[in-house]
């Protein structure tokens, strides 16, 4: 029925072997797609029915559909472009490797879910996304490769810090040592991470040195406070004795008593800071009383 397919075609310019292959191919294709004359009629009816049913309605709705399609396409393109730009930023900037990897995976899932972008733009965006992922993976790989060296250097630095902290724990220069401890904590943080087991052990030693220093200072402070209070009590006792001196009765005895008291006063040593003023004022008053009598050669007139 069909003169179009009745004759065996031939390939000009093909050598014998290739021509033979093409003959086989023609037989095979005739076997797969036979010239089924009558069987084509139902298919023809279906084609015409579909063509007629869609022709007018299709024309009416085509403009609306085109608009909607264009809008969807633009939105999908915008979304994909935003995702790719974010991926490129992560690839260049991020050093939070875990978070960066998680975000790139999430971007990939979302990228796959956005559809409707035309093929050329999609291929370009995919290429950019793919390059961003490669760049990120390369940077991450480089970082991980250099991590061993960085940790060894960090361990060395932290050992130095711990050695200094342990030496400082014996220091008597309280203020300077406390300031240096603060600086050492900053240097510790800047040194980065040593291998995990070593890092924990070094930190434990550092903290122990600090605690030893603080404990020594506290202990010494409490001992000193008791000593100062005792001194204050002794000076109180001396003052009571000094205030009983009466230079009017016998100036020379009074002066001798005051000299002895002053000598003992100096030997006692320091008192708590808050009592210094009070005690010194009382002593000054006694000295003044004796000095005035000595200067005038007579008893002062009391009102």
């Amino acid at each position: 029925m069909n003169d179009n397919v009745g004759q065996r075609p031939a390939m000009p310019d093909a050598d014998e072997a290739t021509a033979s292959r093409f003959d086989q191919l023609y037989d095979a294709i005739c076997e797969v797609v036979p010239d089924d004359g009558e069987a084509a009629e139902p298919e023809l009816a279906r084609v015409m029915k579909e063509a007629r049913s869609g022709s007018r309605e299709g024309e009416r709705t085509s403009e609306i559909t085109d608009l909607e399609r264009a809008k969807t396409k633009t939105e999908a393109l915008r979304r994909k472009r935003a995702l790719v730009e974010e991926a490129e930023q992560i690839a260049v900037m991020s050093i939070q490797w875990k978070a960066g990897s998680d975000r790139l995976r999430a971007i990939l899932d979302e990228y796959k879910s956005v559809r409707g972008v035309d093929r050329r733009a999609d291929a370009d965006l995919w290429m950019r996304f793919s390059k961003a992922r490669q760049l990120y993976n390369r940077r991450r790989g480089d970082y991980l490769a250099g991590l061993g060296d960085m940790r060894t250097a960090a361990k060395r630095r932290k050992e130095e810090i711990v050695a200094e902290a342990e030496a400082l724990s014996e220091s008597l220069e309280w203020r300077a040592a406390a300031r240096r401890y603060l600086e050492l904590v900053g240097e510790w943080q800047a040194a980065g991470r040593a291998p995990k087991g070593d890092d924990d052990e070094l930190w434990r030693r550092f903290v122990a040195a600090q605690e030893r220093f603080v404990a020594r200072r506290s202990e010494l402070s409490s001992t000193r406070a008791v000593e100062l209070a005792e001194n204050a009590a002794k000076k109180d006792e001396l003052l009571r004795e000094a205030e009983r001196i009466d230079p009017i009765q016998d100036l020379s005895v009074a002066q001798a008593q005051l000299s002895r008291i002053l000598e003992q006063w100096d030997q006692i040593g320091s008192v708590p800071r808050e009592r210094v003023q009070e005690l010194e004022t009382r002593l000054d008053a006694v000295e003044e009383k004796v000095r005035l009598v000595a200067e005038r050669g007579a008893a002062p007139k009391y009102s």
């Binding site: 029925m1 069909n2 003169d3 179009n4 397919v5 004759q7 075609p9 390939m11 310019d13 093909a14 050598d15 014998e16 072997a17 290739t18 292959r21 093409f22 086989q24 191919l25 023609y26 095979a28 294709i29 005739c30 076997e31 797969v32 797609v33 036979p34 010239d35 089924d36 004359g37 084509a40 298919e43 023809l44 279906r46 084609v47 015409m48 579909e50 063509a51 007629r52 869609g54 022709s55 299709g58 990228y111 796959k112 559809r115 093929r119 999609d122 995919w126």
Partner: protein, 202 residues
Amino acid sequence: MTASAGDTGDDVSEARDQEFTELYRRERTRLRRYAAMMSPHLDWEAAVHDAFVDVYRRWDEIHTSRRAWLNKAVYSRLVDQGRRCERPEDISDEFLGLWKTTRHIHVQRLRDPEEWQELQETFGAIHLLPDQRRCALVLRFLGSDDDEIALVLGVDRATVRRYVSDALRQVTELVGNPERRLRARRQRRRPWQNPKTGGGEE
């Protein structure tokens, strides 16, 4: 007057249906073979069906050869189908690699095993060709002339001849006579004939 206009419209429609039916009966089998050879791994039957539906709807807009228009419509649909399959989000790279290497023509294996093997090799060689060269070769094989292939591919006749010639040479290199394959390789190595390959004069 109205009745007369309606009658004229019906006559035109009837004439169009008649012409379309003739076209369908004449071209259906050849078009199906063309589509099956072009892309057996895709839904080539749907491509042919859609092309006929489309040609009916655009009947009055087609001013060139309708047969060429049909060929072009089928070609475009097959290329679209192929690209949809290759989109990165649709399938994995592994599947794509597998899919690209497993194009077979599904003929019955009630034949000589050697012949079956040769058939698959020939088919595989054709499918290694780029889309346009494959289309030109298959259309030529099924009897289309240079003008028609030029219309389908949107190129000039000289380009069509080059496409067919290149495609045939590539297929021959893979499945043709071994001596000819050797000659073809030697010829390709001559720098004055193919400067892209480089190298000095022999």
